[in-house]
């Protein structure tokens, strides 16, 4: 029995390692290619290890393209949309999870319906609207649209988390002299933390990855966000042969900040989702 168990654990470990290699390989290949010279990249035989590599790709990318302005744009837009989204959505989630009021059902329905609406046909109208506000090529303009894009899903998701926080706690706080809002702030919000992280990550993924609308709204070169920057970069070097080394260096630069961010939040995120689902 124990020998059997040890054996199956070993086989399991082996399978896990194979799967890990499969899942990490594209990421590895990106990093590997980013260190290789054009000659190595263009060769018909791939080189599997980056030894004897070069930093020239990174140098070229950082020197010749506007990576840092794009990073700045992405961070600014994402930060604004994300912070406002979390605040607005958690307030709305409180309202629909804790109160019954006229129009509540309509609001819930709207929140659900809006998520079923494809975004792709509204680009022209969104352009016209921002042009009317004089907000094209501005951080605020894009943030407004992104905020509206992520709020419904976040409300929907946070509602489950709010419902998961026992009302008794709030009532106890109110007996101790807190106002209703005070009770929310002191008791409910701290308990919502995992949920806020989880839904925040979803909003982050959506905002950080968006490029189709951005390409229409942000026409000035120095206003491009990171996805736009990488996409344009991959396209413009498309004269005959793609400079895969440089493109991969660009991809590495785009991916690294997110990988770091995910390393930090991942534990809370999975737990958060489970918490919301099970308790809700």
């Amino acid at each position: 029995m124990t020998r059997n168990k040890t054996l199956s654990r070993t086989i399991g470990a082996a399978v896990a390692v194979v799967l890990a290699i499969m899942w990490a390989f594209p990421v590895y290949w990106m990093i590997n290619s980013s260190f290789q010279t054009t000659a190595t990249i263009n060769s018909l035989t791939p080189t599997f290890l980056p030894f004897g590599g070069t930093l020239r790709n990174f140098q070229a990318v950082l020197d010749e393209t506007a990576f840092f302005p794009a990073l700045g744009m992405s961070v600014a837009v994402t930060a604004i949309a994300l912070v406002l989204c979390i605040v607005y959505a958690s307030l709305a989630a409180l309202a629909i999870a804790r109160f019954r009021f006229a129009g509540r059902k309509t609001f819930v329905l709207v929140v659900i319906l809006v998520q079923m609406l494809p975004a792709e046909a509204m680009f022209i109208a969104q352009y016209k609207m921002l042009a009317g506000f004089g907000l094209l090529n501005s951080i605020i303009g894009v943030s407004i649209i992104y905020l509206a894009m992520v709020v419904p899903f976040t409300v929907w998701m946070l509602r489950g988390f709010v419902a998961g926080v026992p009302v008794d706690l709030e009532e106890a706080a109110m007996i101790d002299g807190c106002t209703r809002m005070g009770a929310f702030r002191r008791v409910t919000f701290p308990l919502l933390a995992p949920g806020l992280v989880a839904s925040g990550v979803f909003a982050f993924i959506q905002v950080w990855n968006e490029f189709a609308l951005a390409s229409i709204i942000l026409t000035e070169d120095e206003k491009a966000t990171l996805p736009l920057w990488l996409r344009d970069f991959a396209q413009t070097s498309n004269l005959g042969v793609t400079e895969w080394g440089q493109v991969m260096a660009g991809a590495v630069l785009v991916a690294v900040p997110v990988i770091v961010f995910f390393m930090i939040v991942q534990g809370r995120m999975a737990q958060g989702l489970v918490g919301g689902a099970v308790k809700g």
């Binding site: 010279t37 054009t38 000659a39 263009n42 060769s43 018909l44 020239r56 680009f123 022209i124 352009y127 016209k128 042009a131 004089g134 094209l136 390409s215 229409i216 026409t219 000035e220 070169d221 996409r231 344009d232 396209q235 413009t236 498309n238 004269l239 005959g240 042969v241 793609t242």
Partner: protein
Amino acid sequence: MNKMTRGAVVLTAVSALALAGCSSTDAEEPDETTTTDAAAEVEAQDITLWLAGTDTPEVALTYLTDTYAEVNGGALTIEQIGWGDLISSLTTALPDSENTPDVAEIGNTQAATFTTVGAFSDVTEYYEQWGGDSLLQGFVEAGSVGDSIYAMPYYFGSRAVFYRSDIYEAAGVEVPTTLAEYTEVNAAMKDQGVGGAYLAGRDWRSGISWIFANGGEIATYDGEWTATLASAESVAGMEQWQELFTTGGVATATDDDTTTYSAINDEFLAGTPASSTLAPSWATWTLGDFDAETESYVWNPETFGVYALPGVDGGAAPVFAGGSNIGISAASQHQDAAVQLMDIIFSEGYQSLLAENGLGPANLDYVEAYTSLDTFPGVNEIAYEAAANAKLTPAAPGWAAVEEAGIMEDYFQAVAEGGDVATLAAEADAKINELING
């Protein structure tokens, strides 16, 4: 002299500027007095120019902003819009007078989409002033609706056959002089296993030459556009291309034009090497021997060569012209300033600058600097020869939609896979007719 229009005065002024400033590498301070006449008439305005991709070299951008500042006094902002986003960005921005670029470049196959709906100002009155009949006529047509011109030629690149003279020599074949010979030569090399033509199956922009050479057209206009891929001439051309593809080709039917250009470099293909490829003239930047020092390909005149694709009965076959048009946004609030910018663009100084940087100038009077460019000896001469012969896609309102749907790619691939040309052509015609009239 008294007949000269305002713009022409600017033009002379600009030319003078160019003569003073362009030949030296540093941007010299142009003589102020030459510009005062013109500047007095148009008030200083800040305008925006949208260029497609990064095709226009840096030095030309600087020239434009500097010269515009001198001539007009306002500031010129240049945005480079990626080719992939060009249509969507123009569609949204051009009608919007607050945010439209004042002058915008557009790919010549996309021009009709916008000229037919009135997105660009009518610039017919400036035709003479900007070069008149010296301008590349095929491109003028592409930017015209009826007798009115809305988008002027900006630059051209044309297609030529880039080949490996060492492989030709080893195989004992000569540069072909007719289109049929091109097939024979490639079939001979392929039989020996030393080389063949790299014509990607889905690269219709290259393959269309066979249709043009045989007198065929993609579509003809007679009140409305009708696709003519199934005409006898077009079918004959496609059958000739199909024969080449099967007997002398080394590319696969599913290859597209993203890899075509470099195929004749050493060790590019796994199987039989490519001994020639039909590519735009600017492909020269990626052709040659690999230089480890600079990490780039260096054109080697010893083993690389270029010739114009031969016609059916000798001479040069008409090729598809790459390049773009440029026009003034109809919604622009700075029409006069935009005209001033166009004056600069069509001035000798700027046209020569484009030519020196390897872009075929719109005004053929200045083509000398292009053909004599010694970066790639002989290449631009051939490219120019081919451009004189070049043809464009139909200037139809729905042409961009035809391209978007990938109909031409699919048609060429199906033919490359050995299908019956007449049947496939009829199918493709039907699909094109649905979209081409917008």
